[in-house]
Symmetry: D2
Subunit: 158 residues, 4 copies
Amino acid sequence: MLDNLGVHAAGFVPANPAYEAVVRESFARQSLMATLGASIAHLSPGEVHLRLPYSPAFCQQNGYLHAGAIASVADSANGYAAFSLAPPDTDVLAVEFKINLLAPARGAEFLACGRVLRPGRTLTVCLAEVLAIAGTERRPIATMLSTVIVRPNPRGFT
Amino acid sequence: MLDNLGVHAAGFVPANPAYEAVVRESFARQSLMATLGASIAHLSPGEVHLRLPYSPAFCQQNGYLHAGAIASVADSANGYAAFSLAPPDTDVLAVEFKINLLAPARGAEFLACGRVLRPGRTLTVCLAEVLAIAGTERRPIATMLSTVIVRPNPRGFT
Amino acid sequence: MLDNLGVHAAGFVPANPAYEAVVRESFARQSLMATLGASIAHLSPGEVHLRLPYSPAFCQQNGYLHAGAIASVADSANGYAAFSLAPPDTDVLAVEFKINLLAPARGAEFLACGRVLRPGRTLTVCLAEVLAIAGTERRPIATMLSTVIVRPNPRGFT
Amino acid sequence: MLDNLGVHAAGFVPANPAYEAVVRESFARQSLMATLGASIAHLSPGEVHLRLPYSPAFCQQNGYLHAGAIASVADSANGYAAFSLAPPDTDVLAVEFKINLLAPARGAEFLACGRVLRPGRTLTVCLAEVLAIAGTERRPIATMLSTVIVRPNPRGFT
């Protein structure tokens, strides 16, 4: 899927057999994703793609999607890519991320493809590519490099 | 205002006497800011503060504001800090930004304080601090370092 | 070569037919690369790999290569990847870079593989992966995401 | 000291009464700092300034200090700022850093001023400003935002 960066599944083995259920359950609790209309397009160990439709409600001054909307889905894609490899009874939190905006976010919909570069017991590093989709064309518009922390006791964050 | 980083006004002279009007006009066109309920709390040459109320509609999985919502206002605060120093008939675009999340975004409202570190003819570097506000307490929750590009012909982006 | 990120040549067409000569000439003027003992291992349009041997003179407190030494070669790899696509009579300058250190820089030698993600008339975005090499093993130890500016009049920087 | 960012001592209380001795002992083991000729110019809880003289041996293609040399001292300044607040029997490691190059590194000497923004039990976030010094003039040339991890068992890294 990640045409431009060419990042392919690295054969990660999930530490939690129920990784799919816990990722979907957590994603469903992210109200920002619901507000943006984002959904899970792909979910496998170490890789999560989120689909984001264009909406005039999330734009910058010239009618393109705001960099913050793009960053939101890329951050969640990377976070859930990390979470898909985390042990049971943990939660994840973004430590930091950096995003390069390669082109204006013009398109009917967008795909934020997050991948784990290096899983860790405490810190996991992820790379996301965001593509603008128009018909059969997929154009990279952003790249995000993130650090995610895995923490015990998911309810400790509540 | 920027208690923690202690960044104070650097005495920038705006290149556009109408800087306040053009910043407010552009901000009013950012539909994401309206959707988030963000408003301009402070605007001076090289410095823009945006206020963001807490809303359950923009959260992550544990009910804190999503890092993407925080990043959105910090990005706009830095972008408009840069835009306040730009010449007439230009527009600004985020090239990239990096955000460190220092603490969960818990609070009744948030203040994203963007400041120009180095204005440039083409590229402007900005630093934003995001504070959580609860009563009289102000707690830093994020720091963003951004590169903004100033481009001629504002309608070239439309 | 970029096993981990799987980034492969994107079929870039160089704007300067003499790209190889100008990259090599500029690299030879970077005294830090000579001091570190770095050399060009691969050079093609949009992609530059730099080899760095381990040396006890460039270490952090525990005898691994210092993150600054790793960042130096990754920055040059990305800069020259960008420069290989630049028109004649230009020069490049790093605007900013972000590096994630994935593992301690332990190994006999290191390879910093820089690739252009998006070439631009003014700004070029690059991604580098740094690998530690020990025998036939290649282990990713760092990832860098950079913005490079292409400027006219190379001697304007001198 | 940090004129431009105006970052002042935040009244941190060191967790290790011997913080000064352990920082100086660790710094003395960083062979890259010795190779670059860097020295500690200031050391207090949560704040470390490193002085770097100009040398023609650490330059980029136009005779300015290479961004990697600047990044090296900024990374060490931030790392030791974090280490000055760490408990006994720990060590620090850079997780990631991001640097914006504001101006060419031209000058007789440079000062990398690292400060802790948020100390943490596991992760500490630091901000460094690098100044070029020429006579009485101090000109900001770079800003670095870093994440540092504090780990138990210092010899675990050896």
